[in-house]
Amino acid sequence: MAMFNLTVNGRRQTVDVDPATPLLYVLNDDLELRGPKFGCGLGQCGACTVIVKGRAVRSCMTPVNTVGGAEITTLEGLGTPEKPHPIQQAFIDEQAVQCGYCMSGVILTAKAFLDQNPRATDAQLQQALSNVLCRCGVNVRMMKAIRRYATQGVRA
C-alpha cells in the first residue's frame, strides 16, 4: 500500500492503495465515483474512460502510480443533471441512450478528440471512436449527438 494524491474533477484527494491498482478501481471504490465503469478490464470497450491531461484514457489499464498529479476528469466532472455540459445536453436532446453503461467511453472519447480537433470530419470522428463499444446499438443516435455538439462550436 502507498499514498497517492489525485486531482479528480478539480478536487485533491488522497488514497492509500496498492500502487499497481488500476485507476478505475480507485475511482469506483475509494472515491465512489460512478462515471467510469468496468466493462472489460482489457482496453477493448471504453466503458472506463476518463480524461487525463486532455486525453481520453482507459482507466482499467492505467495503474494508479502512473497518473501522478495530473488532472483527472470523469463523466461527473463535466456537468450535473441540472446543468449538463453541452455534449451531455446533446445526448439528452437526441435521447442517445438506452442502458447508459457506455456513456463514459462514448462521451469522453468524443469530447477529448473534438477539443483537440474542432474541425474533425465525420470519418476522423468515427476513427477516434475506435474500440468504443455500445452493446445496446444506440450508435446512430450517438453519432448524431456528437455531431450536434461538434457543430455547436461550444467547447467547455
Partner: protein, 778 residues
C-alpha cells in the same frame, strides 16, 4: 362511498406477502415453453408473476398529493421507467413530475415475475395491473369527490391532481385532500375505464426519458455502483471447463496476500473475498486450485452434424397430417438448411451484485430481470425462506435476456454468508463470457411443395436446438453456472420422440411456424398465412453450454430460416419478394407492415437477384423480411439495403427501413430508439458474432475473440415507420426489428450477388467462399 382506513406501515408488505405466496399462474406453461425450457419449470417460472389485485399495492397518494406507483416490471434500458411513469400520470391526471415510480423491490412492489420477452407492455399497459390500477384510482377519486362536492360523478373531471366540476375550475378538491396519506382499501376494478388513446396528453407523446440526465452525467446508480457500509469484495474461480469438478484448494497459496483474504468453497464453487477489489482479483488469480478434468466438448467443426445426431425432445407446433402426401403430389419441391450459431448476450459491463446476508435476513442488490424467481432461488442457496430475502433491483448494463446477473447474485450471497459481512462481486470479462447462458444455436431443415402456379401448397420444418439451464426458476438455482457448480441440479432434460400430436391452442411464441401457414391446431387456426398443409417439428437436444433467452430467443433463428427460405422460393419462381409474401399472407396487419416498409423504402419491384450485377467490385442489393413476433405480439417488416465488396467479402448495411405495428404507442421516440437498437444489434449478430470453443473450453472470452459491432463501424441510415392503432391491445415492440434483421440482410446480399447465405454469421470468409463457388459454377 369508499371507506378509507388509516395507513398501516406494514399493510402493503403483508398483503403482498399473502398474495405473492401462490406462484403458479395460468399461462405460465406457455411462457416457459417460449423460453426454451423443458416442461416442468413451467409453473414455477410464471413470467408475469402473481401481481396483487389490491389497488394499494400499486398506487399511493401522499398528503401533499404526490403519487407513488409500484411496479414489478423493471427498467432495462428500454425506457420502461419513463413509459410506466407516463402511464400513471395519464390515468390519474397528474403532471409527470408529481409521480414517483418504485420499481422491482420484492419487499415493496407487486410480484410481476420476470421482465422479459417484450411482455411488459402487454402486462402493464392493457386492462390489467398498473394501467388498471391507475384507472381504478381515478374512478375512486372521482367518486369520493362526488360525495364531497355533492355533484354527480358524470359532471366531474380528474385533472392536474384534483377532481373538479366540468367547466367550473373553482369547485375542486385535490387528491391530497381526498386520500392523502391513507389507503384506498379497494380491489382493482375490472370495469374501470381506461382513458382512450385519442384523449391522451402524456402517454403516447415522446416524453424524454427521466433517467437519461443522471446517466449522461455519471450520477445514475447501477447495480455495479451499489456500495453499502462495511462491504468487502469477492471474486470467483470458475472451473477450467464445463463439467470439471473440484479436486482441491490450497488455501495457503493466498495466506500472505494483503486484504484479509478468505477462501470459500462449496461443492465445485470456489471464491475469495478481500477488503478491496484489486486484492480479491489478485487472490483469485494466485489461489492454487486443482480440478478433475471433464470429458471433451463436441468438436466445433462438426457441431451442426452433432446436433442432428443427439437424443431429442420433440414438439409439434402444428401438424396438419397431410404434408407428406402434398409434397408427393406437388409440382416441385424446394429444400434448404439454415444454420445459426450460439451467441452471447455480451453485456457491455460484467455482471455485479451486492449481498448483505445476516442471520435471519438477506438483501441482494441485483440487475436480474427475474426479480421474484431470484428471491426464491437465493433463499434456496442461503437455506432461508423466500420472505427472508429481499431483492432490490438496480439497472445493469443492457442485458437482452439472461446474462450473469442472476449467477453473480448467488456468488455474492454465498460469499456474504460465509464472510458475515456485505460482499460485492463483479465478474471478470472472461468469466462473464465463458459461462453465460448463450442464445441458442439452430439447425433448420426447410422443405416446401409448390403447385403448377408456383404457389406454396405444403410447408415442412424441422428445427434442432440445444438447451441447458436457463433462467433460474422455482426453487432451483442450478440453471446458471454459479448455482450449478454450488451443487444445484440443472433443469432436467427428458428425451421424447416421436412428438405427441399438437393440442390446445396454436402457440407460435417461438415463431416456429412461418408467417405463410394457417397455423391450425384442431379446428382453430391462429396463423397469419394461407398454406394449409403444414408441419413444424422442434427437436431440442442437450447443450454442452448453458443456454437462455437472448433477445428474440428462437424467434430470431426461426425467422431467419423462414424469411430467407421464402426469399429463395420467390427467387426460384422469379417473383418479386414483396409480392410473393403478400400472395401467401392473410393477416391484414402483417400485410400492412410489409406494404408500408416497401413503400417507405421505395421498393424496386422485381425478382432477385438484381439483373446485370457484376461479378467483382462492389455490388448493391435490397431485401425484405417480416414477422408477427411471438405469433401475436407485434408486427414488423424491415427492408435492408446492402453493399457487398466482392473482392474482400465485406458486407455493409447502408439503409434499414422498418415498419412496426405494436398497437397504441406509449412513447414514439422510445419505440424508435428500441427499433434502431435492435437493428444495430441485428447487424452485429448477423455479420460478426459466434461463440467459439475448443475441446476443453469456450475460446470467446473477450471482444477480440468475440468481435462486436463498434462505434467506429460504418453505420446505416435507419428509417422507422410507426403504425399507431388506438383500438387494439398494446403489444411488444423491443424485440421485433432484431428478429428480422438477419433475413433482411441475407436477402439483400442475395439480391446484390446471387449468393444465398444460409449460415450466420455472414463473415467475409464465408461470403468470399460462397462467391468463389458462384464464380466457379457459373
Amino acid at each position: 362511498m369508499t371507506r378509507l382506513t388509516p395507513e398501516a406501515a406494514l399493510s402493503r408488505r403483508e398483503f403482498i406477502a399473502r398474495s405473492g405466496a401462490l406462484i403458479v399462474t395460468f399461462g405460465a406453461a406457455a411462457a416457459a415453453g417460449r423460453l426454451g425450457l423443458a416442461p416442468g419449470t413451467a409453473a414455477a417460472q410464471g413470467i408475469n408473476g402473481n401481481p396483487a389485485t389490491q389497488l394499494d399495492a400499486w398506487i399511493a397518494i401522499g398528503a401533499d398529493g404526490r403519487v407513488t406507483a409500484y411496479t414489478g416490471k423493471c427498467e432495462l434500458g428500454q425506457g420502461l421507467f419513463t413509459a410506466q411513469t407516463q402511464l400513471v400520470a395519464e390515468e390519474l391526471g397528474v403532471p409527470i413530475d408529481r409521480v414517483t415510480l418504485i420499481m422491482c423491490d420484492t419487499d415493496r412492489t407487486p410480484d410481476q415475475g420476470t421482465t422479459s420477452g417484450a411482455q411488459s407492455h402487454p402486462a402493464n399497459f392493457n386492462q390489467a395491473n398498473l394501467a388498471l390500477a391507475g384507472a381504478t384510482a381515478r374512478e375512486a377519486l372521482v367518486q369520493m369527490a362526488s360525495t364531497r362536492l355533492g355533484v354527480p360523478a358524470e359532471q366531474l373531471v380528474a385533472r392536474d391532481g384534483a377532481v373538479q366540476v366540468t367547466g367550473d375550475a373553482t369547485r375542486r378538491v385535490s387528491y391530497g385532500e381526498l386520500v392523502g396519506g391513507r389507503t384506498f382499501n379497494l380491489p382493482l376494478s375490472r370495469q374501470a375505464r381506461r382513458k382512450h388513446p385519442s384523449t391522451w396528453t402524456v402517454l403516447g407523446t415522446p416524453v424524454q426519458r427521466l433517467d437519461i440526465p443522471a446517466m449522461v452525467t455519471g450520477r445514475y446508480e447501477y447495480a455495479q455502483d451499489v456500495r453499502v457500509p462495511g462491504m468487502r469484495h469477492g471474486r470467483v474461480v470458475r472451473p477450467p471447463s464445463p463439467g470439471a469438478t473440484l479436486a482441491s484448494v490450497d488455501e495457503a497459496s493466498v495466506r500472505d496476500l494483503p486484504g484479509n483474504v478468505r477462501v470459500v468453497t462449496r461443492k465445485n464453487w470456489v471464491g475469495v473475498v478481500a477488503d478491496k477489489p484489486f486484492q480479491a482479483i489478485q487472490a483469485a488469480q494466485r489461489l492454487k486450485v486443482q480440478w478433475n478434468p471433464a470429458p471433451a466438448l463436441p468438436a466445433q467443426a462438426s457441431w451442426y452434424d452433432y446436433m442432428r445426431s443427439r437424443p431429442t425432445r420433440e414438439t409439434f407446433t402444428t401438424n396438419s397430417g397431410d404434408v407428406d402426401a402434398n409434397l408427393k403430389s406437388a409440382a416441385r419441391i424446394m429444400r434448404s438448411t439454415y444454420l445459426y450459431p450460439y451467441q452471447m448476450h455480451g453485456s457491455l459491463g460484467t455482471s455485479a451484485a451486492v449481498a448483505d446476508v445476516r442471520q435471519d435476513r438477506a438483501t441482494i442488490w441485483s440487475s436480474s430481470q427475474a426479480v421474484w424467481p431470484l428471491r426464491n432461488t437465493v433463499a434456496t442457496v442461503l437455506g432461508m425462506k423466500p420472505d427472508q430475502v429481499r431483492i432490490q433491483f438496480r439497472l445493469g448494463p443492457g442485458c437482452y435476456g439472461v446474462n450473469q446477473a442472476d449467477s453473480v447474485s448467488y456468488d455474492a450471497a454465498i460469499l456474504s454468508q460465509a464472510d458475515g459481512r456485505p460482499v460485492r462481486v463483479q465478474l471478470s470479462r472472461q468469466d462473464e463470457m465463458a459461462w453465460e447462458n448463450y442464445g441458442l444455436a439452430f439447425v433448420i431443415d426447410q422443405q416446401v411443395g409448390l403447385d403448377a402456379g408456383n404457389t406454396i401448397v405444403a410447408w415442412d420444418y424441422i428445427g434442432w436446438s440445444p438447451a441447458k439451464g436457463g433462467r433460474p426458476g422455482g426453487n432451483n438455482p442450478g440453471n446458471v453456472v454459479s448455482g450449478n457448480v454450488a451443487g444445484y441440479q440443472i433443469q432436467g432434460f427428458a428425451p421424447r420422440s416421436p412428438a405427441p400430436a399438437p393440442s390446445g391452442d396454436f402457440d407460435n411464441g417461438n415463431n416456429v411456424a412461418s408467417s405463410y401457414v394457417t397455423g391450425c391446431v384442431g379446428s382453430m387456426c391462429g396463423g397469419t398465412g394461407v398454406v394449409k398443409s403444414e408441419r413444424f417439428l422442434s427437436k431440442v437436444i442437450e447443450s454442452p453450454f448453458f443456454t437462455g433467452p437472448l433477445r428474440s430467443p428462437n424467434r430470431l433463428q426461426n425467422t431467419f430460416a423462414h424469411e430467407s427460405f421464402l426469399d429463395e422460393i420467390a427467387a426460384s419462381v422469379k417473383a418479386d419478394p414483396v409480392e410473393y409474401r403478400l400472395r401467401h399472407l392473410r393477416d391484414p396487419r402483417l400485410r400492412e407492415v410489409v406494404t408500408a416498409a416497401a413503400k417507405a423504402a421505395n421498393w424496386d419491384t422485381r425478382p432477385s437477384p438484381r439483373p446485370g450485377g457484376r461479378r467483382n467490385g462492389v455490388a448493391t442489393g435490397r431485401g425484405i423480411a417480416c414477422v408477427l413476433y411471438e405469433g401475436d405480439n407485434g408486427y414488423c417488416a424491415t427492408v435492408a439495403e446492402v453493399t457487398v465488396d466482392q473482392d474482400t467479402g465485406v458486407v455493409q448495411v447502408r439503409r434499414f427501413v422498418s415498419a412496426l405495428d405494436c398497437g397504441p404507442i406509449s412513447n414514439p421516440d422510445g419505440v424508435r430508439n428500441q427499433m434502431e437498437g435492435g437493428l444495430i444489434q441485428g447487424i452485429s449478430r448477423t455479420v460478426r458474432e459466434e461463440v467459439r470453443w475448443d475441446a476443453t473450453r469456450v475460446q470467446s472470452v473477450d471482444w477480440r475473440s468475440y468481435p462486436p459491432f463498434y462505434l467506429h463501424d460504418q453505420l446505416p441510415v435507419i428509417e422507422s415507420v410507426l403504425i399507431n392503432r388506438a383500438d387494439v391491445p398494446a403489444t411488444g415492440a423491443g424485440e421485433t426489428t432484431v428478429t428480422v434483421a438477419a433475413a433482411a440482410i441475407g436477402n439483400a446480399i442475395f439480391d446484390a450477388t446471387g449468393v444465398r447465405l444460409r449460415q450466420v454469421p455472414f463473415t467475409p470468409e464465408r461470403i468470399k467462399e460462397a462467391l468463389g463457388t458462384r464464380n466457379s459454377t457459373a
